[in-house]
């Protein structure tokens, strides 16, 4: 049975998708409305034109990218549905259901050796390149120009990134020490904790809480144009670039606490990228919005988030199958979205698949800020001690992004908040050099049998497990070299979804065991050039 709403629409708004009308509950996201309307197929992937649908509902993956009112690549899981909106599917030749270029997927069943194909004859090579150029890209250039938006400036003693339990503990502890504190949260306070069925403490009154505010990058630099007219300091100054609904904020904190949490990353199995394959949080967010993703839901993988999602799905009246081991899944099939999951010869009919890999830390911002990172065998984490100290004296980290949970994480977060407040007061913290931990051996695990469908290790760039294997065989054995050779982590999500999976897969394929992820570069989430165009206003050309 297709997805359905658990309650009648109360305050519907109407918008169109490729010209067809869809109803949404006022305030919900475009992607939620589309799923509720039974539309899980929202576009086609970049290389193989495989069907794409929403998968994370956290603004992290490429699944829900659509053209909205003339703007390409809008993450529709983050965009509120409004009356009269014109939404279009992308990267389609023909219709999104019958895309002519989906032939590429069929033609290269295991993946494509795009480095070496058609290199024998010059004329053929030139034709191939012309065709490749024509079909490249996802989405088309925006219809109109967008005027530059000036950033805002602010200063604060302590910036805490992440509004989960650790972030709140840290922010409250720093505020109790007398520091001015900002707490920024990309969504709502406690959103991820709620998905685990946990609560979070209330923010103390002196903490300035900014929900819907994403930290997009951490920078240390000299010579950055000041708008306040102050003389430029000679020493590098730390800036954190924040983005909210009004544009960018250039924030200068004296100390930083990163409490960005962890998430269930991508898992490798045949057909893992198909519409209808969701993360546990995605299934829960749909339920919170009153949408049940399917009547029969197959579970793949393991972990507390998956268990929680299974329980809530059952409570909402769904039937769950499994959980199945990812490596045992032979195919996920059905058109336009999931209809069955096949293990060996057995086809399990289902309407959706919820899959979860071991949690991986949200390490990107901490990495940019100068904290050390480490690999725990399953994914990357921020290297921090029990006081939340990292390799950088003004950067603290706490909670799940450091691999700590529960009371230990809460204590660490309070220590981190106090430490950050002391740094902001000008006290030099006790020296901490995290010993460079030798990388944990990757949990090699069994690799999936890719009998009949692609096992996708990077969905934004359509990189298959087979292509990764090919790269290792040719000597591109470490994470950076294999990234460049296969293209994983170079697409929309810049590796947030796939790097931990690729590190595990590389180790299992006999490549180098990772001790660091790919360089964490800004921005955390794509930022429009118009918002960046007035960051420097010193009147200079260069």
């Amino acid at each position: 049975m297709p997805p359905r709403r658990l309650e009648e629409l109360r305050d519907p708004v109407a918008f169109t998708v490729d010209g067809e009308e869809v109803l949404a509950e006022r305030g919900e996201s475009v992607a939620t409305a589309l799923v509720a309307a039974g539309r899980l197929l929202l576009g086609r992937s970049v290389k193989y034109h495989r069907p794409r649908g929403p998968a994370c509902f956290e603004g992290r993956c490429d699944g829900c990218l659509m053209r909205v009112d003339g703007v390409p690549n809008v993450m529709t899981c983050q965009a509120e549905a409004r009356a009269g909106m014109e939404v279009e599917t992308q990267n389609v030749l023909g219709t999104v259901r019958a895309d002519v270029l989906a032939l590429t997927d069929w033609f290269f069943p295991e993946g494509m050796d795009h480095h070496h194909m058609f290199t024998r004859f010059g004329p053929v090579n030139r034709v191939m390149q012309k065709v490749a150029r024509r079909v490249a890209g996802v989405g088309t250039i925006p219809d109109g120009a967008r005027a530059p938006i000036a950033p805002r400036d602010a200063r604060v003693d302590v910036l805490v990134i992440g509004g989960g339990r650790s972030g709140l503990e840290a922010a409250n502890a720093a505020a109790r020490e007398g520091a001015s504190v900002w707490l920024v949260e990309a969504e709502q306070l406690g959103a991820a904790a709620a998905a685990r069925g946990e609560g979070v403490p209330a923010p103390g009154p002196p903490v300035e809480v900014r929900e819907g505010t994403l930290a997009v990058g951490v920078f240390d630099e000299v010579g950055f144009g000041f708008t306040t007219g102050e003389p430029e300091p000679a020493e590098p100054v730390r800036w954190v670039l924040l983005e909210d609904a009004r544009g960018l904020i250039r924030l200068r904190p004296r100390a930083l606490v990163v409490a960005t949490g962890a998430f269930a990353g991508a898992e490798a199995f045949a057909g893992n990228d198909r519409p209808g394959v969701l993360s546990p949080r995605a299934a829960l967010r749909l339920l919170d919005a009153g949408v049940l993703v399917g009547q029969r839901v197959a579970l793949v993988g393991a972990g507390p988030e998956l268990e929680r999602a299974a329980a809530r799905l059952k409570a909402a009246g769904a039937e769950t199958l499994g959980p199945f081991e990812a490596s045992g899944v032979d195919a996920v099939g059905g058109r336009p979205s999931v209809r069955y999951l096949r293990v060996g010869e057995t086809k399990h009919a289902c309407d959706a698949v919820v899959s979860a890999a071991p949690p991986t830390g949200a390490y990107v911002l901490a990495g940019q800020a100068g904290a050390g990172l480490r690999f725990d065998g399953r994914g990357f984490l921020v290297a921090a001690d029990e006081h939340g100290r990292t390799a950088h004296p003004a950067v603290f980290a706490a909670g799940r992004c450091t691999g700590r949970v529960g009371e230990g994480a809460a204590r660490q977060a309070r220590e981190a908040g106090r430490g950050a407040a002391r740094v902001a007061r000008g006290e030099v913290p006790a020296a901490f050099t995290p010993e460079r931990p030798s990388p944990a051996p990757a949990e090699r695990g069994a690799l999936p049998r890719s009998a009949s469908d692609k096992v996708v290790v990077c969905r934004c760039e359509d990189v298959t497990l087979h292509e990764l294997e090919e790269a290792v065989a040719r000597g591109h054995r470490d994470l950076e070299a294999a990234k460049r050779y296969t293209g994983f982590a170079t697409g929309w999500c810049q590796g947030k979804q796939c790097v931990s999976l690729c590190a595990r897969a590389l180790a299992a394929l006999g490549g180098e065991v990772a001790d660091a992820p790919i360089t964490p570069r800004p921005p955390l989430r794509p930022v429009p050039l118009a918002e960046l165009a007035r960051l420097v206003d010193d009147g200079e050309g260069a």
């Binding site: 000299v222 670039l241 429009p528």
Partner: protein, 390 residues
Amino acid sequence: MRTTHGAHDLPDEAEVVVIGGGIMGLSIAYHLAREGAGRIVVLERSYLCSGASGRNGGGVRAQWSTERNIRLMRESLQICADFATTMRINVWFRQAGYLFLARSEERAAQLEASVALQRANGLPTELIDAAGVKKLAPVVDTRDVVAASYNPKDAVVFPWPFVWGYARGCAEQRVGIFPFTEVVAIETDGRRVTGVATKDKRIRAPLVINAAGAWSPEVARLVDIDLPNRPHRHEICSTEPLKPFLRPFVADLATGLYCSQSMRGEIVGGISNEKVPSGYDQRSSLRFLGLYARELTRTIPRLGGVRVLRQWAGFYDITPDGNPLVGRVDALEGFVLACGFMGHGFMMAPVMGKKIARHLLHGEDEELFERWNLRRYESGELLSESMILG
């Protein structure tokens, strides 16, 4: 076929050791091997594509302001055009020309002089007006464009496969390529090079080539030679991939802005930025993002709604006179330079690798190697080049 090896396979002896596994070092090694130079070893201290060869914008152009550069780059363009079929790897060579915009009379006059020189050297470069620009690149805002130069033969490539292509070409000729292998010492007998040492191995060799790019001054310091080149951090960024809408590579020498739409559909580009930390700081800056976004949206206003996906940084290898440091070093026999290529070492490597190999083995191109020799910094006969971007 596997192209690289682990440190346990390092030989005791080689005819040539190349320091630096970027496109320059690999191109030299490839051509030396083809010319029969004997056992060659390439030592790279990180992974392949870790340096500037893996971090540049992939522009390949013959529009330069000196006859030497124009002629060399015309040859390099031809090598790039044939690379996919000769080296059997796709480099996504796309010949849609470079469009240099001039927004002042002074810049226009400079371009005009360069165009005349380029045409005299066989390039089809044309000086065009704003309407001509509009025709070639409709998305460019031409309101303040005074003139532009356009050579339809200039091109853009995807840089990484050049490195892999040369690496495989090397491996097929039994050149040993060793990533994650840093040279910690260069050994001499006081007058000539006798070999190099890595952390756990000594390799005897009479010829050592410094192709370490921005790190070449550090390599030269191992033998107490002070090179005049310095690293300069250059940043670059990439937008979300979009269907093709911009054909030529667009550049503006006044601001140092440049951009092109890559084979994958992203707008990839950079800009001059004088205020960068000295040394080897490869982190990203907000200032770069601001400068680039400001000039790019001025030049192509419709990009305002297009998003930046990633910014990154690499090093230009800057020489005081904007020209490379190439050839034998007088002070130490057997020590050869192939560095100081500013921000265009990538596009020059295909032709320079060949020329350096033939020069070393057969003494070809004496004039070029005389002019680009390190000794010009002692004699004071410095050179010039005004069409440097970034």
